[in-house]
């Protein structure tokens, strides 16, 4: 197959073509490449921006999520207007505007072992930009079965990991997979608490993933097959560990012995606090259960709820009340709209590990609508 570059493309990719190691042949390989990016969040956004700009000819994006305001701190493909819209559709539109000459397909679905084979069919290289272990294992197992390489990236607070898995080199040797490193999804996953993340971190790890993609496609430099790159952004400690292929793990995957990926999924998005509806709160009050109701609004409160017990701890002051709240049998947090209280619940349950945190969904507005209660 001979791929040609148009005059427009020669100009657009001039800076790649001028690199002797890439040149015209490398740019043609990029144009011929078919890459599936799983996850259009913190890692997916930078990966997509740079692969689209680099001229990868065919790109698929898988994600069933919609954009939320808290995504905008690091998911740079979305604007304030994107909130509430499909990530993949929004991403596709923005990316196609950058590069109208490539093919971009949006798959507004959750990547799982059910749809994996069909999604992988059209692509030669997969990039794991997901935010949960369940999907990582699904990508790993699907790639082993379809005999395709994938580029893994993951983050935790200020640290990141990058690797190339299941990659077959020019000599026909296939490197290790994610299961050769971590065979099973562990009880670790049961703790789905929301943790914070430095916004720049997924940007940086995404750049390493995009770089690995360019390396694999154009055959330049050393790639991270058989390695695990560890980066600590606070200290700039960088380590490259050696990972060995474990044939027994590969066999288990090929023979279908791992089937737990789906079961884990249920947990991945589960919060460590519980949401309660105004109706449930009403029942709670009626049942005279022992609980404390905490107003977490910052200043300028527009109205107050029409019953006691009631504490007022603005969200920003919560860290000072952890011990006190920890001793309550049940803590229901609320605000005007439910937004601040969701963050308060995440902070208390996720970050400080409090076990009995409940969030009033929809806040006072929903409460008022539920029962016409007076909001003073």
């Amino acid at each position: 197959m001979t791929t040609n570059l148009s005059t427009q493309e020669l100009e657009r990719y001039q800076k790649h073509i001028l690199l002797p190691e890439i040149g015209l042949s490398g740019q043609k390989k990029l144009k011929e490449a078919k890459v599936l990016v799983v996850g259009a969040g913190g890692l997916g956004c930078p990966v997509l921006l740079y692969l689209v700009s680099a001229g990868v000819g065919s790109i698929g994006i898988v994600d069933d999520d919609i954009v939320s305001l808290s995504n905008l701190q690091r998911q740079v493909l979305y604007t304030a207007d994107s909130v509430g819209k499909s990530k993949v559709e929004t991403a596709k539109n923005s990316l196609q505007a950058i590069n109208p000459e490539i093919t971009i397909r949006a798959y507004a679905e959750k990547f799982s072992l059910e749809n994996a084979a069909q999604l992988l069919q059209e692509y030669d290289l997969i990039i794991d930009c997901t935010d949960n272990l369940a999907t990582r294992y699904a990508i790993n197992d699907a790639c082993i079965r379809a005999d395709k390489p994938f580029i893994y990236g993951s983050i935790h607070r200020y640290e990141g990991q990058v690797a190339v898995f299941n990659y077959t080199d020019a000599q026909g040797n296939t490197g290790p997979s994610y299961r050769c490193l971590f065979p099973e999804a562990a009880h670790e996953i049961a703790n789905c608490a929301e943790t914070g993340v430095l916004g720049v971190l997924p940007g940086m790890i995404g750049m390493y993933q995009a770089l690995e993609a360019i390396k694999l496609i154009t055959s330049i430099g050393k790639n991270l097959s058989g390695k695990l790159l560890l980066i600590d952004t606070l200290t700039y400690t960088q380590r490259i560990l050696t990972v060995k292929r474990n044939e027994e793990e590969i066999r288990k995957v090929k023979e279908g012995e791992y089937t737990n990926a789906k079961a884990i999924q249920a947990c991945a998005s589960e919060a460590s606090y519980k949401n309660i509806t105004p109706e449930e709160l009403h029942q709670l009050i009626e049942s005279q259960s022992e609980f404390i109701l905490v107003d977490v609004r910052e200043g300028n409160r527009m109205g107050n709820i029409d019953f006691e017990p009631n504490m007022t701890i603005p969200f920003t002051h919560l860290p000072g009340y952890i011990d006190e709240l920890d001793q309550e049998p049940m803590v229901v947090v609320y605000c005007q709209t439910g937004r601040t209280s969701t963050m308060a619940a995440q902070l208390l349950a996720g970050d400080y590990g409090l076990a009995n945190i409940y969030n009033l969904s929809g806040g006072l507005i929903a409460w008022q609508q539920r029962n016409g209660a007076l909001v003073k």
């Binding site: 935010d131 949960n132 935790h156 560990l241």
Partner: protein, 79 residues
Amino acid sequence: MKINVLLFGSLTEIIGQSSISLSADKITDVHQLHAYLLKQYPALSAKTFKYAVNQDLVDTDHTLQEGDEVALLPPFSGG
């Protein structure tokens, strides 16, 4: 025997620091180190992690040498 233990990801939060210097004569392999660490830091038992010695991922029967750098590596899930 002196060993430098490095912690990554959520393990740093459990131990409260990102490295530990150990000086223990009875620890000759990763298995013994693991037992020692679980005793010192019981919260580790709830965690999944792998051991790397001098930048190679190893099994628990790996023998430790004076001055080894041992990394405890949990899976990362974020993205």
